[in-house]
Symmetry: C2
Subunit: 268 residues, 2 copies
């Protein structure tokens, strides 16, 4: 009985020690728009030191539970992560029509770059991050957002696009960009067709970007998100969760972060 109590106490203590991911909804602004982002970090890993900061740009659904989960996962890896609100008031939706409307109001407009910048500024403002070690990741529409942020010239070390919409870089963007790019695509993604990839990669080559373009067999759009299957069941075509590819892509991001945040540790 005593050893059982000790075991239970030990397990409870361990759980307490492990439950150190701090999460906060942060209100900030872009122009007249109130934004609500989601911050996560693990202070048992970061301690008093400034940690690398990672921006998380969401799919067109907004800062969903999936996005929050990934933000927390980044915190557990030792990063200070901030999921950006691209819509205002932290709006989210599971309705593809509404998502299309929300994303469409931003995509390709000045507010896209401005809200991405606002997220970057907000993450710096927390005072928790090492400004020389910043990165941006994005899923789907969020992939495009992270590309746009990189093209604006903010001092990102890296940009990771998970089954992202691909935005070809202009000559101007190529000059300003400071980030290394990691582009992770499903080989069979019907929402990012061959022509889009070719145009994107041409702009990457012409602009002399440092990129790694990885195509995963069998994967379609939204391969990172377990909720993609639900969306497909509800009629949204071309999306589907792929757990093996999701695990590979997440491991790929970690390898990339190891390189961009610790260049001296890159071994052969």
């Amino acid at each position: 009985m005593k050893s059982l109590c000790l075991a239970l106490f030990g397990a409870a203590l361990l759980t307490q020690v492990q439950a150190t991911v701090v999460t906060k909804t942060i209100s900030y602004r872009q122009g007249d728009t109130e934004l609500r982002g989601y911050l996560a970090y693990d202070d048992s890993l970061t301690g008093d030191k400034k940690a690398p900061g990672v921006l998380v740009f969401p799919e067109w659904w907004g800062v969903s539970d999936f996005v929050k989960g990934r933000t927390e996962a980044l915190a557990k890896l030792g990063y200070v992560a901030f999921a950006a609100d691209m819509y205002g008031d932290g709006q989210t939706t599971t309705d593809p029509k509404k998502a299309k409307e929300l994303a469409g109001a931003v995509a390709g407009k000045p507010s896209m770059g401005e809200r991405a910048q606002a997220a970057y500024d907000q993450l710096i403002k927390t005072g928790l991050v090492d400004e020389s070690k910043m990165a941006a990741i994005g899923f789907c529409f969020g992939g495009a957002c992270s590309q746009i942020l990189a093209y604006s010239g903010v001092p990102l070390k890296g940009m990771v696009s998970f089954h992202g919409a691909l935005v070809p870089a202009s000559v101007e963007a190529a000059k300003k960009n400071q980030a290394k790019f990691l582009i992770l695509q499903g080989a069979l993604d019907p929402l990012v067709p061959e022509a889009a990839r070719t145009a994107f990669l041409k702009s990457m080559d012409d602009g002399k970007f440092d990129y790694q373009f990885l195509s995963y067999s069998g994967a379609i759009h939204a391969f990172m998100n377990p909720d993609a299957d639900k969306a497909r069941a509800n009629g949204l075509e071309g999306v589907g969760y792929n757990p093996e590819v999701a695990a590979r892509a997440w491991a790929q991001m970690q390898l990339f972060f190891k390189e961009i945040f610790n260049p001296s540790s890159q071994g052969t």
Copy 2:
């Protein structure tokens, strides 16, 4: 003086302990052809246990110092590595005309598959490898050799092609193949042009291969090999060493081996 002696002695001892990569030239046969391959393993890492076995298929120069170096590097990672002789008598050359002749005598012929098989059999025969954990890697022409071996249906867990010639898989090959594929290409490789990649990837998709296709910006052919620059200076076009990409590709292989040899450790 005494502390200097102790320091020197300690350094010598450390060197002795570290110098545990065993290398052997192994004679074996394919049909009437005498072959000479190069085996490497680190018995301080493998000990009494059977380790994963990795075949190394060389560039068209043969089992060169570069190939031997990579074979030894694999040994230091804990694998039992065997560089295959695809030409007979361990022939090597630095003359592109001779290399073209040697490779041409084998490429696409029955001897290509037979010599790849002979290397596989020889590695098994050492008794040092875990037969359920075998992989093949190849550089350039060697990339094609490792694809051919995978297509023959030997139980490889994985195949890594470093700037390899790409051999589209037939329907038969797709049925027999057991390996996961990691294809690492230089984005600007003129010796593996767009049409070749497209045809290869189509066969991969049609045959439902499990693959990851990674294109590295700025890299051309033979990006792994420091000697590529010498070859280019001597008139061979389209080749060039890229140390940053080489480091990334080697790290990529290690990540891939972690997945294929330890599937239960794949995390999110």
